[in-house]
Symmetry: C3
Subunit: 244 residues, 3 copies
Amino acid sequence: MYTFVLVHGAWHDGTAWGAVIEHLESKGHRAFGPTIAGNGKGVDKKVTHAQSTQSIVDFMVQNDLREVVLVGHSYGGTILSKVVEQIPERIKRLVFWNAFVLNDGESLNDNAPPHYRQLFDPMASASPDNTVMLPFPIWREVFINDGDLELARWSYEQLSPQPYQFNEKLDLKKFYEIIRSGRVPCSYLNCTEDIALPHGEWAWHPRMSNRLGLFRLVQMPGSHEVIFSNPIGLAEKIIEAGRD
Amino acid sequence: MYTFVLVHGAWHDGTAWGAVIEHLESKGHRAFGPTIAGNGKGVDKKVTHAQSTQSIVDFMVQNDLREVVLVGHSYGGTILSKVVEQIPERIKRLVFWNAFVLNDGESLNDNAPPHYRQLFDPMASASPDNTVMLPFPIWREVFINDGDLELARWSYEQLSPQPYQFNEKLDLKKFYEIIRSGRVPCSYLNCTEDIALPHGEWAWHPRMSNRLGLFRLVQMPGSHEVIFSNPIGLAEKIIEAGRD
Amino acid sequence: MYTFVLVHGAWHDGTAWGAVIEHLESKGHRAFGPTIAGNGKGVDKKVTHAQSTQSIVDFMVQNDLREVVLVGHSYGGTILSKVVEQIPERIKRLVFWNAFVLNDGESLNDNAPPHYRQLFDPMASASPDNTVMLPFPIWREVFINDGDLELARWSYEQLSPQPYQFNEKLDLKKFYEIIRSGRVPCSYLNCTEDIALPHGEWAWHPRMSNRLGLFRLVQMPGSHEVIFSNPIGLAEKIIEAGRD
């Protein structure tokens, strides 16, 4: 039986993992879905990427979690990379689920097609707290393309503005030292209809997955948001990606 | 409940949609499979792309169809692009099913690998009426690779020679204005074993789908001809691609 | 009903096909899984690629097998290409299952990412008999990524050192003459989670499959080693790839 810590993506918070956690627990695993600092409704949004990272480190240390299979979704991948630099001894495996694997010295926006930056840069500047929100048409067509309109609307209501850390360049030298040494093995879980990053030149897989070097690939049908459209299927694939 | 107008591909005619329409109707939708002018057996083949387009516009106007989900397969994608320029107010959504999405000013042959043009150009010149036919070995191996030989033979008998409009360059400025404005949303339905256009450099997806800008991706297993090898599965995916 | 000859990949021997053969026979087909010369446990490993090829030719001739659907996995694809040059009249169709399709004059290593050669070249030199073995971590994460640890360990025990023929350049002019003429049709069976060759620049499909020219594509979910993780599913897809 495994201990999973599930790190959500941008605009989400830890409650999004509810049905996934329930299924993991029904299979005898332990699973936690902490909310990253700066995420969720009604909280202080003025947090840096380092502060967001620290909140997940603190969660794992305070709960004394060990042998953790650490799963990150989307933006959550950037958190994973920095968490493992701080507490590699607590982590059994990293699972990137359609998650950013940045090259050393890059920002999230360096890895996203230009139209996202063109959308978000002015939006963040115009906001009172340097946050951005995903427009509903993009959510419906590109993030949850496998859901119906009702699910798209319901899930959109769960979202909240995201601290705009997407231009922060991350030093990832230690991350790459750790994973290249084989000290913490990695998996990449890819949803085959995920076009939150468009297929082709800017795709999640194999563009970012191959940066992991030796890694295990697991795939499943579905969009970027199977957390809402197919949480049980997602939980099953997290087990497949996370097991020894 | 939706109103679907289904536009077939080259060599096919509207009867190919029979089982798809039956399934859509059984789910409470309205569905129509008109035959494009110049297609089908025993008809005048000397038609231009504009005349072919006009036949679909006329069908929709004469039947006073509104709020139409307009679906196009393969060559039918080039028809969709020109129909929406004429009657955007009748169209709720465009669904390109392994269909050509040409750049402005391009022809279908500009988007197909050279071996097709090398095959078809002389064939059209040698024909009495500027038509081309698909050789059976290509049909069997590359178009209906998921069917057995009996299905390949039976379905091949349904085909008829195609007016050779593949070198006509199309003005698509208005098409791109309409879809880029978000006035008519678009979906792309991709069959993952479709090698009518070979995977890689010349692939349907993401090469042509990405030209749509913001679009919904839906995928299903199968060849270019699931209309014959899996019509019920196709109907289900047309609903998923076509819904709001 | 068909006659299948199944040619295993590197490190494997013919016994790996056991469950596949059983399923093919249960469907009324004949199926054979010979061991390539130099493969298997406790045999002379000092064999060239030509000698390995000859052992399969001999097997087919001595058993007077005709109308053979010849299936090759991985390294076995290089054997297929040379066998068909010698006895094309006995072969009904070639099925490359995540198998190497080399360009004329190339070696297997010319078609694999550099890290494999960097791993294997010194390993072969250091071995007493010019053989190489696949390290278990690569087997577990990259070859049998869809299996659990127990299956990974059990199947790894079936393997044995491989004669290091991977730098032999193969003359494949006759092979390409035969398949380009259409005399022996070809299929490519691709497992969609196979990262033994990483997805992208170095992928099995469409990089090597497209070299076949006109070919039938069949795909299934799974890793490079569905022979162990899903032999019945593999047998079903071999039938789909191999039928007329």
